[in-house]
Amino acid sequence: MELTVEQLFDYLTGTLSPADRQAVEAALARSSNARAMLERLATTRSTVQADAAWSVPATALEHALALGTRIERRREPSFFERLSAAAKAIVADLTFDSRLEGALVGLRGGSGFALAYQAGEIEIDLECGTDDDETFAILGQLTVVGTRAFPQLEVYADRDSTEPVTRTAIDATGMFRLAVRPGTYLFRFVAADGGTPVDVRGIDIP
């Protein structure tokens, strides 16, 4: 007699007649597969009955799930995310260079020059005066189309730098002051709302 899982379930739950019960026991004695099947049913039964009596408190589950933020930090950005981040760094177009325009109007001293960059919806005006032999003292103004405010400017030597060369505050009118050596920089305008900063690369201080 080959036992079915249904017969074994009925045997386990005590619903068989004495004769059927005896027949099942005889078959069980002969078959290790049938005994294993019965054990699986018995394990299922004891698990279901034991589990019905308790549950993990929702707060404990929430706390364990919250550890997922630490798991998430392990994630490497995908190729497309890296590409997207790189694309967010807007390349600035030089729209005005006073040295190419002849007369220099409105600059203090007369030894300096003025540059204007356009990058997306951002316009940056820079008045560069020599501070000493190696450094330019810059008075800048940021003009932004839209309502976002950028109270902080960080200046990086290149896109891969993690530490800025310098940083400065931008006042409510968009004015800021910097002192940098000649070079090509990335300007990072840090947003007041804590959102994504705007990176403008290709700011060339000759």
Binding site: F9, T13, A36, T44, V48, L61, H63, A64, G68, R75
Partner: protein
């Protein structure tokens, strides 16, 4: 992304897949909690063990060698944490003169086969989780009955015709048997 095997689940977590972590915690939360509960620890201690085990998993996820034996790792880590709790409770009791904590009364040695029992129970939970809602509800109702299941009551509770219980019972039991055998629950002696 399939998280069917523990190895694939652990791999996904190690790569920072938050959804995989959610699946892992949901799958194993009850198993982890069952260990301190088995030792009769109070709920606050169970919660400590539960959180400590999952925190340890986050920290050591790269170091898990046999990723397909995740359940075993969780049971061992939870058991160790129960013992650590016991030691610290004893130390505190010795210092303060207070006795009688549940953690202090853990059995002298955890029985090795107990771990296997817990793993088997976990496999049963996984089997029931994958079998499909209708079969799961029916089998849970059938197995939950302390003795002879009362079919009219089950039919009413599940909102199904009583005549459908017989054929569905046969189909679902066969399905569960195939799943549990595949998962390696209570293999027949060779």
């Amino acid at each position: 992304m399939s998280y069917e095997s523990d190895a694939s689940l652990v791999d996904a977590c190690a790569r920072g897949d938050r959804r995989a972590w959610d699946v892992l915690v949901t799958r194993y939360s009850r198993l982890v909690w069952s260990i301190p509960r088995k030792y009769g620890l109070p709920e606050s201690d169970c919660e400590d063990v539960h959180q400590t085990v999952f925190s340890a998993l986050v920290r050591h996820i790269d170091e898990l060698r046999q990723r397909e034996r995740l359940a075993s790792w969780l049971i061992t880590t939870a058991t160790r944490e129960c013992w650590r709790l016991r030691r610290s409770t004893r130390t505190r009791a010795a210092l303060t003169g207070e006795h009688g904590s549940a953690a202090e009364d853990l059995p002298a040695v955890p029985l090795p086969e107990t771990d296997r029992d817990e793993e088997e129970r976990q496999l049963v939970r996984e089997g029931l989780a994958t079998i499909g809602e209708r079969c799961r509800d029916l089998l849970t109702a059938l197995f939950a009955a302390p003795a002879n299941p009362h079919y009219p009551e089950i039919a009413e509770r599940l909102g199904i015709p009583i005549g459908s219980i017989g054929p569905n019972r046969a189909r679902c039991l066969e399905k569960l048997e195939a799943i549990l055998r595949g998962l390696g629950v209570r293999r027949a002696a060779e």
